[in-house]
Every structure is written in C-alpha cells, then in structure tokens.
Amino acid sequence: MTDAAATYNVDVFPVESDVEDFERFPEVMNVGTTAPDTMLTDLDSGEQVSLRDVTRSGITILEFGSLT
C-alpha cells in the first residue's frame, strides 16, 4: 500500500479531520465549475471508467459513501 493510501484510509472515525473537511467544503469545486475527469472501477464489470464518459450521457447524480 502506498503512503498516500495509508494516510487516506484511516482506521478510526476521523473526528478532527472531518470538521476540517466540512469547513473546507465551500471552497472545493463549487457549482458552475467543471469537475475533474478521474478514473473509477465499475463494480459489476471490473472495468475502469472515466467519470467524464459517465456524465456525457446526461444529468448525473453522484452519491459518495461506503458500507460503514
């Protein structure tokens, strides 16, 4: 695992960094801006997909979350 992955995947509920992220949110990618084109893995197919290719076909809701 890379250092970046170890830092990101914290094994505790991130109470303190959470509040920093909530306070930073208004400054991140506001409405009217172009979203970045990142790569994600489609769970069913296992294929890599471009987020830009996903949104090309219409209005797209992106909900972020996890099992826990």
Binding site: T41, S66, L67
Partner: protein, 168 residues
Amino acid sequence: MVDEYAERGLQSHFVYVREAHPGENYPAHTSFDQKMQYARDFQKMVGVKRPILVDDLEGTTHQAFGTLPNMTYILNSAHTVIFRANWTDPPTIRFALDYHFGALDRRRSGLRQNPFYAEMYAFRWVDDSAFMEGLELSGQKAVDEFQKAREMWARGEHLGTIRNKLLS
C-alpha cells in the same frame, strides 16, 4: 426519483469511498481487492440497483470532490457541477432536480432566463436507529468511536461548532 426523470436522461451512480466508521468487521481498506469486496457486500446488503463506481485506494476522486463521507453532486452533460451538498438528503436532491428540470422546461416554453449562482443551508432528517445499525454492522469499535464523537459535539466541540452556528 431517477425513474421519474429517466426519460430526460437522469442517471445515478454510487461512488464507493473509504470506510467512514471502520470497525472490527469492516476495518479500513488495505488493498483494492478488499475495497471491491466491501463494495460488493454493500451492494448486496443494501440492495443497491444503481451502478457502483469504486474509487481507487488513494481516494483520488473522493479527495477531489471534498473527502466528506456522504456527499452528493449533480453534474450535467458538460461535466459541470450544477448542485452539490456535503450530506446526502433525498428531499434536497429532489428540490434540486425539480428546480433544474423546471428551468429547462421554462426555457423550452420560451421564457427568457439567465443563470445565476445561489447557495443555501439545508437541514436533513436524522434516523438514529438506522445509523446505529450501520455502526453495529461495522463493529463495537465503530460504535464506541461514534459515541465519543457525539459527546464532543454535545460539548460544542468539532462538528458541534458548525451545528451551533447554523442553528442559532
């Protein structure tokens, strides 16, 4: 909600990110295969029908969009952000979609409109019992950590400072 606007091209995807409340049963990801397996468990347990897109182990997409555990964004076909919320709340998403598609309808009917920028604070309904079930699924560690956080918020620390500011 998505079915209602499907004819107009609306689609919905779930972006699987890091575990917000890692516990004994679902500790933090240490490999991408493990993250994919957790995403499969989530798909099965919750009965998710939408496509699930799994972020990489470094959280590249998650961090680009703000790193919060349960955000919602709506992007148009030009890949432009037209709505975003730092918490997922179905009534708020419904409000945004009705507003957006309503504006498109009014434009088609000939009404002259100019876009403008707006912000608002919203209030979400809290379902404690469902949330606690999720924590218990993760493990006692997740339950204990959240209880400690809740006590801090009650004292007005961390997220409690934001809540107190908005509810004043």
